[in-house]
Symmetry: C2
Subunit: 429 residues, 2 copies
């Protein structure tokens, strides 16, 4: 990772950018910038140079860390996620510099080395360097098109509240024959708590949970309804039929714009292959909630806590702990960043991108918003959904790579055209 | 274990018994007998020469495998469970032989070498040697008194049906953000199934579950009500208050004579310390039911299966597997074995034993019943509940040991007095 960071540092410096490596407890962060304009807006692009593990080597047709050009694509781990897309960003900047000798706007680049690990160093980094990162708009280049023929702008991602719920009973695990009749079983209490989290319609039963949920707008509803939904593809991949998990909404609406709750894991007592007949002393579960605007993780945690406390029965104790917490984020669909990226993608790909919301959680967006008070953030990218992100035989077509270069250049020109710099902006020279 | 078996074989042969070691896939079984009478009843005593692991060595005041005589007791792993009690059986027989030159009845001894592992070799052994093991009554010497001043006869133990319930969803574990809105979560379905197994009164909700449950008799009810229940001791040990887990019954009744259901463990997806936000592909639980007469494990399994199938929801699949299955057992309280052991214990300890039922499951009783068709089986022993069975500093008082010797001798004389041999009995010479 350090070698990769050094290489990247050398590359952007050679392009003429000011750049520095920031050491962290883990992999380095690279920040580069070219901010020559006193009176132009600033674009911050986030991307990452680390990659997912290669997984099962026998499923790769080429070596994951020896890039091969094949059938118009480059095959390698990271080809599309996110080394290839990052490199398209650099080529977009380089090409403008080559032709014009300067950029039409101020540009800042933030390259993460730990995205695939959940960006553990970014919290401290963004807090410390909030001023340095300030910009008019942020483009996170780390996603794929919605469908091969549908480049996409993600203008919202869900927040996250994940909690570890531990239910304990007797001080030690005990014989289920000797004590099954007179000692309460914490696994039963846990099951009741988990089972009660949703009703038959898939609504989350925690009192007050939906109070701050922003309704899906009629405009969004119409847009989402016109999106293709690859029911057969999902079924072929997962072996199960996708079904809207909340009554009254379509599957796409549930995924993109409704809060969800998932039991991510449960544990305690006997394991498969070790069938001991005990009343376990402690059992637990990881429960995560994906939140939508304007839910706040701290508020939802209080509601969750109330729910759990209301379910505690005689003979068991509960411990509740926040595992992770992220604010949901949404950028208005008519904001500059959405319009700028929309025009840039249309220019690069020949048709308008779809406006979509992510069911996942963008850690970096939440951190950047908190540290810089930039509100105008979108995520985009140029790879195809079938490019094998996180899977064997990851690849990135040269065609999409080229269009990514064009889109990057177009984004700078669009920003220069559409947006005046914010008054409060500080220029780093 | 082989050395211990050889030693034991030599000892019983020296006593004048016919004995043999039976090799198994694990530790040897020893069978010994002295059946000189053509017209006397036969007593089979079961005991075991293996011991529980010593556990934390630092908690032992003496070395667990170097017996020490201290304050009137012998301290060592196995002192009471079950080497010491087994040895009292041998001394009881030896003393009668020493005085009379013969035994008043035919005697058979079955010494297990794997009791602490659940007697995995006993199923095959009892099937193969059912005729050899036939007897009029069986006394299992492997339990403790109910209280120091209350020797006990266990005339019933619960059956067992334990099942592995697996609930699966998507073919692989998937991102809870991307799929939380449109793919069913098997952990939720599992939680609902487990939570629905009991109602608020602790009654098991599986339809038909109680159909074959034999009611507690008024005689038992009165007996159990007069037993001391060490509420404070249990609370001090486990940190939780014992509470009857089924409404309408006392804690002792629930433990001894009502069927119970326990979730022994649950698993699937994220683990503590590895909080991944997924919808797990597979989750599972081990559920065990302790059954009472006249419930039958196969019948209860069918009911459990029906319950689970009725709870299957869209997008999940269920796999159900029997982990273990044992018939409940009960010997009539006025049977010869109960009366004989009752007199013998009264003779040895100076007062009548209490008649109790075990909440646990006796594997050996169920196997012997199946293999030999002997119905008259009880379990007893002479150690005190505080003797540290399975704990550090296990010990057995010389006083109880001596009374065990007397009780063994008395059992033989009582049997000779009270019981004619069964017509069908085959004498092994």
């Amino acid at each position: 990772m350090h070698k990769a960071a050094e290489w990247l540092l050398g590359y952007v410096r050679q392009m003429g950018l000011n750049a520095r490596i920031y050491e962290t407890a883990g992999n380095p962060i690279i920040f580069a910038e070219l901010c020559r304009h006193k009176n132009a807006p600033t674009l911050l692009i986030y991307s990452h140079y680390d990659v997912a593990p290669p997984g099962r080597m026998e499923e790769w047709k080429t070596l994951p860390f020896s890039p091969v050009r094949l059938n118009g694509s480059v095959y390698a781990r990271g080809a599309v996620d996110d080394k290839g897309q990052l490199f398209a960003v650099l080529q977009g900047i380089k090409s403008v510099l080559a032709v014009e000798g300067k950029l039409p706007v101020n540009v800042k680049l933030l390259f993460d080395g730990e995205e695939e690990m959940g960006s553990p160093s970014m919290d401290a980094f963004t807090r410390k360097y909030g001023d340095m990162l300030s910009a008019d708009i942020v483009v996170v280049v780390d996603i794929l098109k919605y469908r091969n023929d549908m480049p996409a702008i993600y203008y919202s991602s869900k927040g996250l509240l994940s909690v570890i719920l531990e239910v304990s009973g007797p001080a030690m695990s005990i014989h289920s024959g000797i004590y099954g009749g007179d000692i309460a079983n914490p696994a039963e209490a846990l099951a009741r708590m988990l089972a009660g989290l949703k009703d038959r319609d898939g609504k989350i039963s925690i009192s007050g949970f939906y109070n701050s949920v922003r309704d899906i707008t009629p405009e969004e509803r119409a847009d989402f309804a016109s999106l293709p939904f690859d029911r057969d593809g999902i079924k072929a991949l997962l072996g199960v039929e996708p079904i809207a998990q909340e009554k009254g909404y379509t599957p796409i609406e549930c995924v993109m714009a409704r809060p969800t709750l998932s039991i991510n894991g449960l544990w305690g007592g006997a394991l498969p292959g070790a069938p001991i007949m005990i009343i376990p002393s402690t059992t637990g579960a990881l429960v995560s909630m994906r939140l939508v605007p304007d839910q706040r993780p701290e508020e939802v945690f209080r509601l969750f806590e109330d729910y759990v406390n209301s379910m505690v029965t005689s003979g068991v104790r509960v411990k509740l702990q926040v595992e992770s917490s992220r604010e949901p984020f949404i950028t208005p669909r008519d904001s500059p960043a959405v319009r700028i990226a929309g025009h840039a993608l249309e220019y690069a790909f020949g048709h308008r991108p779809v406006l979509v919301r992510s069911g996942g959680t963008s850690g970096i967006v939440s951190l950047l918003k908190k540290a810089t008070s930039i509100q105008d953030i979108i995520a985009t990218g140029w790879g195809d959904p079938g490019d094998g992100e996180h899977a064997p035989n990851e690849h990135f077509s040269i065609e999409n790579y080229r269009r990514g270069i064009i889109a990057t250049a177009a984004t700078m020109y669009e920003l220069a055209r559409m947006k005046k710099p914010a008054k409060s902006e500080r220029i780093v020279v």
